[in-house]
């Protein structure tokens, strides 16, 4: 089926409704828009709640940022993007965290909550997430990954390498979306968090193009991949990120099995660069060491320097 390339005006209209201000290609204007929504006068702000009750702590993490109503308007159609890529322990977003986010959205008066995915249903059954989603009255909307009509071609104006993304069309039916990754090791680029998780909204075909065909011999392979991920993030901006940094693998990622560490943290915020930069420290790395985070920072997507990030630390 012929891919539909939407016109710029229509794209902008849809982008603004999704809080995609950065896609305008105007760094100053996008900064203003971003500041209006989630940056305090002091700079980037994230919340970190530590403790064993992951459900309760998820709620606490969002409350610490001002509450769910700040991110989800009443009557909104909300898309959520948890990670269900593998069923091995420490590789997928915990069901309690997904459950808490759905309940928060309902509390905010969301008219519908949908989990969007081009993974097949077995992936969601294997992790148990499909049951949580359905129990809480949300829906799992599966996208046929082979059907190109289910994806919309979006220009990436600020992309240094990626010039077009193929975004799940269903996303545009929603008013806001919430990024729900699990942080973990990744053999491709050593870290996955909020920014890499958004590849779940980009078509598998486009994602494969982030890997050079001659990746085995091309010296730019990792650099290329990470720049593409950062570029993708310039056209997708979640209303909120709620990150599972509770129990996750730090070796053999993203699929596992691997060594699991248990910091028991829920991290929330809107600044993806800040969140990812903070999360790298949980297993001894720095944001600057991860190319994707560095390139996200260079795109103006957020703050990489932890000293400039306001981190609200709470016990659970």
């Amino acid at each position: 089926m012929k891919k539909e390339k939407i016109r710029r005006r229509e794209f902008l209209r849809r982008s603004m409704s999704l809080g995609l201000g950065v896609s305008l290609g105007n760094a100053s204007l996008s900064k203003i828009i971003r500041r209006a929504f989630f940056l305090t006068d002091e700079g980037s702000e994230i919340s970190v709640v530590t403790g064993s009750d992951y459900f309760r702590n998820t709620i606490k993490a969002v409350e610490a940022l001002g509450g769910i109503a700040k991110f989800v308007p009443k009557g909104a159609a909300v898309a959520i993007v948890p990670n269900s890529q593998s069923r091995h322990p420490g590789t997928f977003t915990k069901p309690e965290i997904v459950r808490a986010v759905i309940r928060l959205c309902k509390e905010a008066g969301a008219r519908e909550i949908n989990c969007l995915s081009w993974l097949s249903k077995d992936f969601w059954e294997a992790t148990g997430l499909v049951h949580v989603i359905e129990e809480e009255g949300a829906s799992l909307r599966l996208i046929n990954r082979e059907d190109s009509s289910q994806f919309e071609i979006i220009p990436v104006h600020r992309g240094k390498i990626l010039k077009e993304a193929e975004i799940v069309k269903e996303l545009f039916r929603h008013d806001v979306f919430i990024d729900l990754p699990v942080v973990k090791d990744h053999a491709g680029n050593r870290f996955t968090g909020t920014m890499k998780n958004l590849m779940a909204l980009n078509s598998p075909r486009s994602n494969r193009s982030f890997h050079r065909e001659d990746w085995k011999t091309n010296p730019d392979s990792v650099d290329y991949l990470d720049q593409c991920i950062a570029d993708l993030n310039t056209v997708l901006e979640p209303a909120l990120c709620v990150v599972d940094a509770t129990e996750f693998i730090v070796t053999n990622g993203p699929f596992g099995p691997g060594k699991i560490i248990i910091p028991r943290k829920i991290v929330a915020g809107r600044d993806r660069v800040a969140i990812d930069s903070y999360c790298t420290t949980l297993w001894g790395m720095k944001g600057e060491e991860i190319l994707m985070i560095r390139y996200g920072f260079e795109h103006g997507l957020g703050e990489i320097n932890l000293k400039k990030i306001k981190i609200k630390q709470l016990g659970g």
Partner: protein, 340 residues
């Protein structure tokens, strides 16, 4: 099952057409059908017999009852070549870098409903299997006598044997599941009737103080990058490499090249890369084409080339310069002895 039904129907037809039988026809028909059903059940309980032609790895799957009370749960899945991306997505590349052929995945369950996932990866050769084994295993864990090498870590077990890597993952962390991992692993190991050998490069790591479980063998940039993020770009591509950590706190990387000329060329690229890197500092040239510098974590890095190899030596700030140089020289001497 479809093939079995067709086969049964054909037998029925032949029996009906037969005119030469003296034995009561209905008895013969019943006995034949009974025999056919028994044979079908026999084949179904032994996946290796039914599907080995279409599924080369099926013969290695434990049948029901072979590993105590653990029995197959659901149908197996198999992926070969690029299909691995469907199973592991972005995590597939490291397998391809080592040389991946195919994988089979089968779940097992016991009477109490505890679950174990079994993955058998067939790699291109023994060295590749060893390499992906070192990639997937950590420093901690218990070495067990299964295969060519095996490590039981927390809730999962990896072992390699010849060109196969086997991974078993338990979904509960209890003694029963732990024993299940070992039992299933031993059954698979018996079926893999072959033995592998470690790459020659492993012998170049000095043995004294070496933490065996820290060894990483790699065949490309991704493997190296996962050990230490040298640079964003692969500026000194190699044929194969190895890394080992030592009880003294040191780490040795040995990278192999085609020949002396190539090693020298790449060494110059490495030297340039480090000297221009914003993440490294205090770059200094030493004796005999060596250089030294520091990284952002406070590691001192020394490097030199020797024959078709490049050595990169990590040590701590606390060691004096002379002692560092001495340690690197000891490694070079060891390599020379092994090669000679």
């Amino acid at each position: 099952m479809q093939k079995a039904r067709i086969f049964t129907a054909k037998i029925k037809l032949k029996l009906v057409k037969s005119k030469s039988l003296c034995f009561p026809f209905w008895k013969l028909q019943a006995m034949s059908l009974f025999l056919i059903k028994v044979l079908i059940l026999f084949f179904l309980s032994s996946p290796q017999l039914l599907c080995s032609a279409e599924c080369p790895l099926c013969p290695f799957l434990p049948a029901d009852g072979e590993a105590g009370e653990w029995r197959r749960d659901g149908q197996f899945r198999s992926y070969s070549g690029d299909e691995l991306y469907l199973y592991i997505d972005g995590g597939a590349e490291i397998y391809h870098e080592f040389g991946f052929r195919r994988v089979i995945v089968q779940d097992y369950i016991n009477k109490k409903g505890k679950s174990i996932s079994l993955e058998i990866f067939e790699m291109s050769d023994s060295e590749s299997a060893f390499g992906i084994y070192t990639f997937k295993t950590g420093k901690k864990g218990s070495e067990v006598k299964i295969g060519d090498k095996a490590l039981l870590e927390d809730y999962y077990l990896n072992f390699w044997k010849h060109k196969f890597l086997v991974t078993l993952t338990g979904f509960e962390r209890d003694q029963e599941t732990g024993e299940g991992l070992l039992n299933l692993a031993r059954v698979v190991e018996r079926k893999l009737n072959t033995k592998g050998s470690e790459p020659f490069l492993t012998s170049l790591l000095p043995g004294k103080g070496l933490i065996e479980t820290s060894i990483k063998y790699f065949k490309g940039w991704l493997g190296l990058f996962n050990c230490y993020p040298f640079f964003p770009k692969d500026i000194f591509p190699f044929e194969e490499g190895i890394k080992g950590d030592y009880e003294s706190g040191e780490t040795i990387f040995i990278l192999k090249y085609r020949d002396l000329e190539e090693a020298k060329e790449r060494f110059l690229d490495l030297k340039k890369g480090f000297s221009e890197s914003s993440r490294h500092r205090d770059f200094r040239l030493g004796n005999d084409e060596r250089f030294e510098l520091k990284d952002s974590r406070g590691n001192i890095i020394l490097s030199t080339s020797h024959r078709e190899f490049i050595l990169i030596f990590f040590t701590s700030d606390s060691k004096e310069k002379e002692r560092r140089e001495e340690a690197l020289s000891e490694v070079l001497e060891h390599i020379q002895r092994v090669i000679n």
